[in-house]
């Protein structure tokens, strides 16, 4: 479904991606783990078209995304829950969700998805007329996820959805990720919480300094000595 072939990309002078190759198959959860600054977020930004590769190919459902503007990439079925949530703080919760469905037409199906998102996160329904900026961190994370789901993506990119959240919220978020996946949505998940991420993923990649250094089935990575030492706390 999504394939990256030897992708290189720069942020100004910084060589952020130094030959990233990975694959997400239909309906899969794939997780990307690694230290801060390893290039995980850059990988997601490259898929979304906000960081353009200097070399290599990004192919989604058979099409090269190199020339596709980022807003059109959403239309093709890829949406993102970005690092730091980045909800529109001066738009209401409802307006944030409407913006998530910006590329779609068809009132009825949008309304259905809105109801589905409100079902996943009932607190958002309660706060639908509140400004996004007034929500707590956990609620903002739910809103960011809900907003990305409103695009009805076939591939969802998630960047650190559990970062900075209370343990109770972390469990909710992972439960929701599982539910989203059972609807057939493929997920490329970047996580600090490697243990949680590997436990729901079918495949995992480990990044270091802009490169993929290890890839395997999630269950094998869980028992891999190096991974345990570096990312699973021994």
């Amino acid at each position: 479904m999504l394939r990256l072939d030897d992708v290189h990309a720069h942020y100004g002078m910084i060589h952020a991606l130094r030959g990233v190759s990975l694959e997400v198959k239909k309906g899969q959860i794939v997780c990307l783990i690694g230290a801060n600054g390893a290039g995980k977020s850059s990988t997601l930004m490259a898929v979304s078209g906000l960081l353009r590769p200097n070399a290599g190919r990004i192919v989604f459902e058979g099409d090269d995304l190199a020339e596709v503007p980022s807003h059109a990439i959403v239309e093709r079925g890829i949406s993102q829950v970005p690092e730091g949530r980045r909800i529109f703080s001066k738009l209401t919760v409802l307006e944030n969700l409407e913006m998530g469905a910006y590329t779609r037409t068809g009132e009825d199906s949008i309304r259905q998805d809105l109801d589905w998102v409100f079902g996943l996160f009932p607190i958002l329904a309660e706060r639908r007329f509140q400004m996004g900026g007034t929500l707590s961190g956990g609620e903002q994370q739910m809103l960011a996820i809900g907003r990305a789901l409103m695009a009805r993506p076939r591939l969802l990119l998630m960047d650190e959805p559990s970062l900075g959240l209370a343990p109770k919220f972390v469990e909710t978020i992972f439960e929701v990720i599982r539910q989203i996946n059972t609807r057939g949505t493929a997920i490329l998940l970047v996580e600090q919480n490697a243990h949680m991420a590997l436990s729901i993923a079918s495949r995992g990649y480990v990044m270091e300094a802009g490169r993929i250094v290890l890839e395997d089935d999630a269950t094998s990575l869980m028992v891999n000595k190096d991974v345990q030492k570096a990312y699973l706390g021994g």
Binding site: G49, P69, S79, F88, M99, Y102, A148
Partner: protein, 300 residues
């Protein structure tokens, strides 16, 4: 005397507000002070005269001058809107991602170009604006509020209400607010940011075009240089209200108009521009974020 000055101030202020909206909307989205915006207003006034001339030469007669005025306003809005989009496309978009100074200088260049173009095409002398209002106006607490003044205030209020509806109720309006807050995130939800920016220039420029017609009618004379002072005044109004803030631009415009009129009435009319620019300086020193603006530190 006081009531008369208040009426004059509100009339002038509502025009400043209309022009200030264009500054503030563009700044809100691409953080550019569009110094060519005053010239758009000037173009609107000229488009009014040109349209009126066309209607006259075509011997199109109207049951009322109101119909002619409506056509002039629509033409000015369309023409100015098209100019705004074109200017953004040619002079600002290629510089996106460059240093902040580059588009600013480009805007000054566009402003100088338009002034000189109009001077050459339409001549350097004042042109008379057609008289379209015969109305007497009404008396209010011993002061007179003329038909033109009522028309200017009513039209401005209508335009601002329409803008508020557009920005808060329509899909493109919500996309404009989203883009103003976080342009990258806007494209991550699928908003075509270039289209939103074009729409912003279209709307801001159309409002300036209407303002041009109204001021042309109010003073009866226009020339190629009217955009300069009006532009700086409207910019002051936008800064006073909080640049980037739409209700702020409306409030700033009205306040500036009132301050100018009261200053002109009670101190000296020769100093009326001094009041406007003294306010600009004072606001920039003591409250750079403006009356309704917030968190300017993040933007600077």
């Amino acid at each position: 005397m006081l009531v008369q000055q208040l009426i004059n101030g509100l009339t002038l202020g509502s025009v400043y507000a209309l022009i200030a909206l264009g500054y503030t909307m563009v700044y809100g989205i691409i953080e550019l002070i569009n110094f060519a915006h005053g010239e758009i207003y000037m173009l609107g006034a000229y488009m009014g005269i040109i349209t009126f001339g066309l209607l006259t030469t075509l011997h199109l007669t109207f049951p009322t001058s109101g119909a002619a005025l409506l056509i002039m306003m629509v033409m000015a809005m369309l023409f100015c809107g098209a100019c705004g989009i074109t200017i953004e496309r040619l002079a600002y978009r290629p510089l996106r991602g460059a240093s902040r100074l580059a588009p600013l200088i480009s805007a000054l260049g566009v402003s100088i170009f338009l002034q000189n173009f109009v001077m050459l095409a339409q001549g350097p002398r004042d042109k008379g604006f057609p008289h379209l209002f015969a109305g007497e106006g009404i008396d209010l607490f011993g002061s007179r509020i003329s038909a033109i003044q009522m028309f200017i205030m009513a039209t401005s209020v209508l335009m601002m209400a329409a803008l508020q509806l557009l920005v808060h109720r329509t899909k493109i309006g919500k996309a404009m607010r989203a883009t103003a807050q976080d342009m990258q995130m806007a494209s991550l939800v699928g908003i075509d940011v270039d289209r939103v920016i074009s729409a912003t220039f279209l709307i801001g420029s159309a409002l300036a075009g209407v303002a041009g017609i109204m001021v042309g009618m109010y003073y009866g004379l226009i020339n190629f240089f009217i955009g300069y002072i009006a532009g700086i005044k409207a910019f002051t109004a936008a800064v006073l209200g909080g640049i980037g803030n739409i209700p702020g631009a409306m409030l700033g415009g009205l306040l500036l108009g009132l301050i100018e009129a009261l200053g002109a009435g009670y101190i000296s009319s020769e100093y009326k521009d001094v009041f406007a620019f003294a306010i600009l300086v004072l606001v920039l020193i003591f409250r750079p974020s403006g009356l309704l603006g917030k968190d300017i530190s993040r933007r600077v």
